[in-house]
Amino acid sequence: MKKITMTPAALLMIAILTACSTAPKTTSLLEVTRQQYLNVQNNPRIAQLAPSEMRQASDAMSLANQAAQNNESADEINKFALLAKTKIDTAEEAAKQKNAENNIANAGKQRDQMRLEQRTTEVDQQKNRADYAERSAQIAQSDTQRAQGDMQRAQGDTQKAQQKVVALSAELADLKAKNTDRGVVITLGDLLFGFNDARLKPEGIHELQKLADVLQTNQQQKILVEGYTDSTGGAAYNLQLSERRANAVSSALQLMGVQRSRIAIHGYGEEFPVAENTNSENRQLNRRVEIILSDANGNIINR
């Protein structure tokens, strides 16, 4: 009976006592400090960068918690809490310092890296410039060589052309060629043909052979063969004779290898006498075949 009435009271007392003893004593400063400590702990970088400061902060935090657990006065708890808070602040600040110092060290490395890169760039640029210069020099040299080659070839061509001109001049001189308004004109006189005949004498053939040689060396060159007579006899007959003589020359040249397409012929009969038909000498001069040489491109000025 007695026991039964005592039990609830005892339980109540125990409950109250337990509540009092288990309810941890704390202060707002301790709570703030604990929260800050938690935050710092959740950032592993801080313990990594400032291990000794962090250890001191942990020790101070333990002392503050100990004071709270020992139910000491609020002032006593705050004393330890403030110390802990100061040390946590210090740990945070030390971590920031270390981080900044790492950045400084890193900046040095970064600068070295940049310097290295710049050197590489400069070397590359110099190499490129050197390569470019070398290439330019090579190109210039090959240009020079080509130009020299061109010049030599041109000189050679010129010499050849000059030689040709000299040769041609010599040959033309043999043919008693004359430079006239219409170009170079070779006159085959009456004595190279049979009397009143279109056939060439051997001397005439010989003269034509020289002309054929000239024409062979200048494949572009064309000729116009013009036949003329004196005024003796009928005009129609004379015209026919002049054409036959021009034709004879043309045929002879073709037999010597000159293409027909390079030879034009024309009979003028009694026209365009070179002297008055008053005496036999002059008439002989008028009986002739004139061969007009074209320029290098094959152009001939017609009468």
Binding site: K79, D89, A100, N103, A107, M114
Partner: protein, 134 residues
């Protein structure tokens, strides 16, 4: 002889009786300032002065003011012969002086790092300009 003897004895006793409390008070006074507190105060004073010397007043003004305040409180407690409180304040003053010094170093390092980073940025721009103008 006996009178003089006894008088001397009494004089000695009187001297003892009068001197003992004074001596004891004097000894107590000397002994009651525990050496650790004196050391703590000296260290705190030095720490706070050092914190000020490295530029705590400009780079960590709030923390510097607080540390000085703690040192003042410690000195006040010493004057009031509250040595426990003096030791506690001195201890807190040391911690705050350490915080000031750390913060000064931290701010200086951060400023140096920022300046270097800026230098590198400028240099990088300059190199980019030079390399791409050739």
């Amino acid at each position: 002889m006996s009178i003089s003897q006894s008088a001397t004895k009494r004089g000695v006793q009187l001297l003892f009786l009068t001197c003992l409390p004074i001596a004891s008070i004097a000894f107590t006074a000397c002994n009651s300032v525990p050496t650790p507190v004196i050391a703590e105060m000296a260290v705190s004073t030095s720490d706070v002065n050092n914190a000020a010397a490295v530029g705590g007043g400009t780079l960590a003004p709030d923390e510097m003011r607080s540390a000085r305040e703690r040192l003042k409180q410690a000195n006040n407690a010493m004057a009031a012969h509250d040595y426990q409180a003096a030791a506690d304040y001195a201890n807190q003053a040391q911690a705050e002086a350490k915080l000031v010094q750390t913060k000064v170093s931290s701010v200086k390092a951060q400023q140096a790092a920022a300046a270097l980073q800026e230098d590198i940025r400028v240099l990088r721009e300059e190199l980019y300009r030079v390399n791409n103008s050739k």
